[in-house]
């Protein structure tokens, strides 16, 4: 069965697996896939499924429907295509990529609009924070001694030592466990101390370019990276 993976700024909101022949996409709650944000029309588009094919049809929406970054009015979807509507992306797969969980009676996953609203609200407040702080920001999420830290240096050190810029807690953490560096127009985090003590989005890293919203863990301390210029 085909699957649509709905993402908001690279974060998966929901996976939609449906037996319906037609899924409507739009801002209002009567749509099958609700994308609750400005930039999305009330009845923005629809996806129609035939025996072997799926077609996306734009309902003359104000801001348009894009497939693989090309504006379309009607387009046959191929496996792995990305439909972009406002800040949302819908990835189309001909087959469900993992076992269905939590599907509704008709096989349609219930879209968690509450989660969507939380994500959108957080996005708005994060935008205000980076605007106020004037650049990249670390948000203190857990075991930190600040709520917001402006990353205005070329190199920001994180670790257990007193002299580092960002203090982290944790067992067997190095004095300077990691550094966040500005490289051209990118920001990257590099683990300097003991292996396995720096994680980005749960993965152990040696070096990782940071994206907006990334969760950084150094020992027991948790930070969220907010990109200043998006």
């Amino acid at each position: 069965m085909p699957e649509i993976v709905v993402k908001y700024e690279d974060k998966i909101i929901e996976r939609v697996v449906s037996e319906k022949k037609r899924l409507t996409v739009g801002r209002t709650s009567d749509n099958d896939i609700v994308l609750d944000n400005r930039g999305v029309s009330r009845k923005h588009a629809q996806i129609e499924f035939n025996d072997n094919a799926a077609v996306i049809i734009d309902n003359e929406s104000l801001n348009g429907t894009f497939v693989n970054n090309r504006r379309v009015t009607e387009e046959i979807l191929r496996d792995g295509d990305t439909i972009t509507i406002g800040k949302f992306s819908l990835e189309y797969y001909t087959e469900t990529r993992r076992p269905e969980t939590g599907s509704g009676l008709d096989g349609t996953m219930v879209l968690n609009t509450k989660k969507q609203k939380e994500l959108v609200a957080r996005d708005r407040s994060e935008k205000e924070i980076v605007k106020r702080m004037g650049g990249n920001v670390l948000m203190g999420e857990d075991n930190t001694d600040f709520s917001e830290f402006r990353l205005d240096r070329d190199v920001t050190t994180i670790g257990k030592a007193k002299f580092v810029h960002v203090h982290a807690k944790g067992f067997l953490l190095s004095g300077i466990q990691a550094k966040i560096v500005k490289e051209n127009d990118q920001t990257a985090i590099i683990n300097l101390g003991r292996k396995g003590k720096t994680r980005v989005n749960g993965e152990e890293i040696d070096r990782q370019v940071l994206k907006n919203g990334d969760i950084i863990q150094v020992g027991k301390s948790v930070y969220r990276f907010l990109e200043g210029n998006r």
């Binding site: 070329d154 190199v155 050190t157 670790g159 030592a161 007193k162 002299f163 190095s174 004095g175 300077i176 466990q177 550094k179 560096v181 590099i190 300097l192 101390g193 003991r194 292996k195």
Partner: protein
């Protein structure tokens, strides 16, 4: 108790090994390191590993800091920059993780340790004259502050009236109402016209210190440095101690 204070090894393994032998011979049980394990020389990984094994307190110097990519080398002179590029290319991941646990400053009993200056350790300011020393005494509460960084063994003192003096001596007994800043000199790249490795033995019971000068196989180090394609100026200066 005798404590050896070593600084500015600058990746000179042969000098460090000779000094460690001399320390054992002198009967010092403890060794503390005041920073700049790497830079200039050709054995950074070996030196950091040996310092980690032998020293109780291990401090960061500006070259160690730069070698971890924590600071631009724009403040370095041309030769130092060239050697830092070599160091960055040859430093192992393991060495970086060892340096990540070195400290910026430390203290024990009535003694303070920092690589450059106690006021702002990360600014790497030099203490070269009485005027510069005079500004530093209020930034440590202990009686003596040991530093490295300039590679010039010398002693600054201040008395109860605020009178600051400087001296180059081979030994010193601490006086009651004075505070001191003691530069312990450099093991790996002395710059006081004496090519022998320099370090200090502190006697915490007798309340005195003495400088030690140790000969090592400079020719062997120079050969290795040339093979590593390090700048001639750096190869030549260790033989003349400048």
């Amino acid at each position: 108790m005798k404590i050896a204070l070593v600084s500015d090894i600058h990746a000179n393994l042969e000098a460090l090994q000779s000094v460690l032998k001399d320390i054992a011979k002198e009967g010092a049980e403890t060794v503390h390191f005041l920073g700049d394990a790497v830079g200039y020389g050709c054995s950074p990984n070996e030196c950091v590993a040996l310092l980690k094994k032998m020293c109780d307190i291990r401090l960061l110097g500006n070259h160690d800091y730069a070698a971890m990519g924590l600071e631009a080398t724009t403040s370095f002179n041309q030769v130092a920059q060239t050697s830092m590029e070599w160091t960055l290319a040859n430093l192992s991941r393991k060495t970086v993780s060892l340096l990540a646990d070195f400290e910026m400053q430390a203290s024990f009993e009535d003694y303070h340790l920092v690589h450059a200056s106690p006021d702002y350790p990360e600014d790497w300011n030099y203490i070269l004259n009485q005027e510069q020393a005079a500004e530093q005494f209020e930034h440590f509460k202990e009686k003596v502050c040991f530093v490295g960084h300039s590679h010039l063994p010398m002693i600054f003192s201040v008395d109860g009236d605020g009178q600051v003096e400087s001296a180059v001596k081979s030994e010193l007994a601490f006086e009651e109402n004075k505070k001191y800043i003691v530069n312990v000199g450099s093991v790996g790249q002395p710059r006081d016209n004496d090519a022998r490795a320099c370090y200090v033995i502190l006697d915490t019971v007798e309340k005195c210190l003495r400088y030690r000068r140790v000969e090592y196989d400079i020719t062997a180090v120079q050969k290795k440095m040339r093979q590593a394609m390090l700048p001639d100026f750096l190869v030549e200066r260790i033989a003349v101690g400048r």
